[in-house]
């Protein structure tokens, strides 16, 4: 609850929401390694940006760590085989985004020791920024927090900006998820090593690791292990959702607001998820590309919740089976947490580089089916982390008045779901905003296509006219 007198008693803290964090079932479970499944499915699009181009054909033998897809352009990364075996197919396969997308299926060799080919561990001391970015890109590292934005792009901030601070995102504000938490507790040195490499690459002197206060053991472990020669501060953060949103985190750490429509780099900050930082460290420790990741499998609908390390490309079905399967009353399987996670209709979808966890919900979490009219209670205004007026935006969305929604800063909405979470009338606000955003994008694209076509027709008409004039002259 965010409004009312209780807000005052929490020190004037106003925005964001407080869903129960439900982390107790996995927060103290050590990360376990899951046995290799008999098949991995590796979509060529696992990151923001252009999909990788396939480098293998059915029947090819691949070893764990081999590149099977090459990056296409700057905002793209290569894809690697995450298990040794034979390419069974290159075909459309279900993707966690809900679409079917091109993917490489590898039949895992049951007799392989699954040891990657010997490879060169890059030396990090004195490595310049260009070489660091190349190593990170070649290893296929992307943001592991969910958005899967290629990390090497973040390591190259726009030329008109000056980076002063590396901000490490260890907030993990989604309920149920504990994979970042376990990394910070079990591998704090690795986090600091990754921070060191990023600081060197970005040429910054200062780093802050933001961790929500519901993870005191992570805060303590990180503080104990800060290297003496690094200026790294561990910043405990208020437990609220969406504390882990980039803009919220920057505000908590620096007191500054990222200007609407601009990047964190414009306020001198680069934000990177703590799991991705650890992945960078692993590249420089082992020479292996990003071929496995830690996922939390949790929620009331799972028999044995766990923190697992799995090869990227492992199907949800195999992961869930390893965790004892679903309970009788399980209803929804989500990739990610319950606030922003994507529901999965097909359990053959693979774990991607950006999949931080699987949350299984039950009938008890099912939301009420009916909505009530908006009673202007203003809870959504008190919840919205970017201070929008979701109540008004919701009315505009229902009326299809997109232009007015743009004026009211719909572009700043992160679709974090806080407004829908608090709405007592159960109005699907953030759901409508995500529809409105894609509808507006579609209309804009159609308008642009139309304008291009008109311009082309005009140009060709003029060309014909001048030609005709030339003939008659």
């Amino acid at each position: 609850m965010t409004s009312g007198l209780r807000g005052l008693f929490r020190g004037g803290f106003r925005h964001g929401v407080h869903p129960p964090d439900h982390k107790e079932s996995t927060e103290s479970l050590p990360i376990r390694r899951m046995p290799f499944p008999d098949e991995v499915v590796l979509p060529l699009s696992q990151h923001a940006g252009a999909p990788a181009a396939c480098l293998v054909r059915p029947g090819d033998r691949v070893e764990r760590g081999d590149a099977i897809g090459s990056a296409q352009g700057h905002v793209s990364v290569p894809i690697h085989a995450t298990a040794s075996g034979t390419v069974a197919a290159v075909e459309l396969a279900p993707h966690p985004s809900g679409r079917w997308m091109d993917a490489v299926r590898i039949a895992v060799d049951p007799h392989s020791a699954q040891i990657p080919r010997p490879r060169i561990v890059p030396r990090w001391e004195g490595l310049d920024a260009v070489a660091t970015r190349a190593a990170v890109k070649n290893a296929g590292v992307v943001g592991l927090g969910g958005a899967a934005f290629p990390t090497h792009v973040k390591l190259e901030p726009p030329p008109d900006t000056e980076i002063e601070l590396l901000l490490v995102n260890g907030a993990e504000c989604e309920p149920y998820l504990t994979s970042d938490h376990r990394v910070m507790v079990e591998h704090p040195e690795r986090v600091h090593f990754g921070v060191r490499i990023m600081m060197q690459c970005l040429d910054v002197d200062r780093a802050v690791i933001g961790v929500e206060m519901n993870k005191p053991d992570a805060v303590a472990r990180l503080r104990e292990t800060v290297p003496e020669d690094l200026d790294v501060t561990v910043l405990p953060l208020r437990v609220k959702y969406p504390q882990g949103a980039e803009k919220m985190l920057i505000h908590a750490a620096t007191g500054r607001e990222v200007p609407s429509g601009m990047l964190p780099a414009h306020v001198g900050t680069v934000v990177q998820n703590v799991g991705s930082i650890a992945a960078i460290a692993e590249v420089f420790e082992t020479g292996y590309p990003l071929i496995e990741r830690i996922v939390t499998v949790s929620g009331p609908g799972i028999v044995r919740p766990m923190n697992l390390i799995v090869p990227v490309g492992t199907r949800a079905r195999d992961v869930l089976a390893f965790c004892g399967g679903l309970t009788e009353d399980a209803t929804e399987v989500l990739f990610g947490g319950p606030m922003m996670g994507a529901p999965q209709p097909d359990l053959d979808v693979p774990i991607l580089k950006g999949t931080s966890g699987i949350t299984v919900l039950t009938e008890r979490e099912r939301k009420p089916e009916r909505s009530w009219p908006c009673i202007a209670c203003a809870r959504c205004l008190g919840a919205c982390p970017v201070f929008l007026n979701p109540s008004r935006l919701g009315m505009l969305a229902q009326a299809g008045r997109w232009d007015e929604m743009t004026e009211m800063h719909l572009g700043d909405c992160m679709v974090c779901g806080s407004c829908s979470y608090v709405c007592p009338s159960n109005i699907p606000l953030s759901q409508m905003f995500s529809v409105a955003k894609s509808q507006m994008r579609r209309e804009r694209e159609a308008r642009e296509r139309h304008e291009r076509a008109v311009a082309e027709a005009e140009a060709s008409r003029r060309a014909e006219e001048s030609e005709a004039a030339g003939v008659s002259a």
């Binding site: 609850m1 409004s3 009312g4 007198l5 209780r6 929401v17 869903p19 309920p175 607001e257 990222v258 200007p259 609407s260 601009m262 414009h266 089976a321 399967g325 679903l326 009788e328 399980a330 209803t331 929804e332 399987v333 989500l334 319950p338 606030m339 922003m340 996670g341 529901p343 999965q344 359990l347 949350t359 979490e365 099912r366 009530w372 009219p373 908006c374 009673i375 202007a376 209670c377 203003a378 809870r379 205004l381 982390p385 970017v386 201070f387 929008l388 007026n389 109540s391 008004r392 800063h409 700043d412 779901g417 829908s420 979470y421 608090v422 007592p424 009338s425 159960n426 953030s430 759901q431």
Partner: protein, 350 residues
């Protein structure tokens, strides 16, 4: 059970929902009004119970009729409207007037605008304004509370009807009841000021539920704690009344009453805590809540000091209800990343 043979549900995120719901908010408001109703029945006997009950029945019946089925009534909002209307009526009004008021509240106050969430004015006050305009005599005849001294030396019995409750339309009242002036009327027309302690406890003449500030504040405090009403509104209403009446009282101490009397008399408490805070008809922004509340407070003082009627809370709230769309538009929250500094930063880079 294996994952293979499951039917999975698909819904857009977020997949969690805070437990509060609109019906729960409404029924909680109803629950906090019960002590106020009990207080009213203690003070005005069976008449109060009859008036409140009939007003609720009129409101709920009209809601059921206009909403086209029994289901919409379950949100509880029509019950609140009926309760609040009943609490603003004098205990002695004929019951048919209370029923008519409930019907007008829901029909003209709410459904002409489109039902729950759409109305501009507080429905209960629309109903009361209608009754005040149509039946001014009945609406300003104030019976005495239980235990009040009678001219013949006795006192008012609890069980006595306080007016022509059972009268029918177009027929004269048949029950004689002893009536008196309200503290506001006494002050305005006779210059007699009622002790503030009596106002606070509620052993005074007035509308059914306009009497005990204590019970109203208890209920409102609980709602504020739960986040079911915006505390800024009652606080700003009461602050504005206190500041303005203190200032004016200091100028004219002999003719204008001071802040304590102004705060605890008449319908101010019920209006500030339960009517001005109606979510639908109050601003959604925090700055807007302060402006709206201060406006109500100022209007109450102006109407009470200079108006023709002793009480002004109803008109003050209705007038400020009309201002809400403008207040909301003028006080939209500043979107994250659009501060003056942010604008400079954006200009610097483009």
């Amino acid at each position: 059970m294996t994952p293979a043979d499951r039917t999975l549900e698909l819904a857009a995120s977020p997949h969690l929902k805070a437990p509060d719901s609109t019906p729960r908010i409404m029924w909680t408001v109803v629950a906090t009004l019960i002590p106020v109703v009990v207080g009213a029945v203690w003070a005005f006997g069976p008449s109060a119970a009859l008036v409140i009950g009939v007003a609720v029945a009129g409101a709920v019946g009209t809601e059921r009729l206009l909403a086209g089925g029994p289901d919409p009534v379950r949100d509880g909002s029509a019950v609140i409207t009926g309760l609040l209307l009943g609490l603003t009526l004098p205990a002695g009004v004929p019951l048919w007037m209370a029923a008519l008021g409930g019907a007008v509240s829901i029909a003209l106050g709410k459904w002409v605008f489109g039902g729950l969430g759409q109305n501009v004015f507080n429905p209960a006050l629309v109903g009361r304004a209608f009754l005040q305009a149509a039946f001014p005599a009945a609406m300003t005849t104030w019976p005495l509370p239980t235990g009040a001294a009678l001219p013949d030396g006795g006192s008012v019995a609890w069980a006595a009807l306080r007016g022509p409750n059972l009268a029918l339309p177009l027929m004269g009242g048949s029950v004689d009841a002893v009536t008196g002036a309200t503290p506001l009327g006494l002050r305005k027309f006779e210059g007699v000021e009622t002790p503030v302690a009596d106002l606070f406890i509620g052993s005074i003449g007035g509308s059914v539920g306009e009497t005990s500030a204590l019970l109203i504040l208890l209920g409102g405090g609980y709602l504020a704690f739960r986040g079911y009403l915006d505390w800024r509104i009652p606080v700003s209403v009461l602050l504005a009344v206190a500041v303005l009446s203190s200032a004016l009282h200091a100028l004219r101490p002999d003719t204008l009453p001071g802040a304590p009397f102004m705060l605890f008399s008449g319908g101010l408490m019920l209006g500030a805590v339960y009517m001005a805070t109606d979510m639908v008809t109050s601003p959604v922004t925090r700055a807007g809540a302060w402006i709206y509340g201060a406006g109500i407070g100022a209007l109450v003082v102006i109407i009470r000091y200079w108006g023709g009627l002793p009480e002004g809370v109803m008109y003050a709230i209705l007038l400020m209800n009309a201002m809400v769309p403008f207040i909301d538009r003028a006080t939209q929250p500043r979107v994250f990343g659009t501060s003056r500094r942010n604008r400079r930063e954006r200009e610097a880079t483009t």
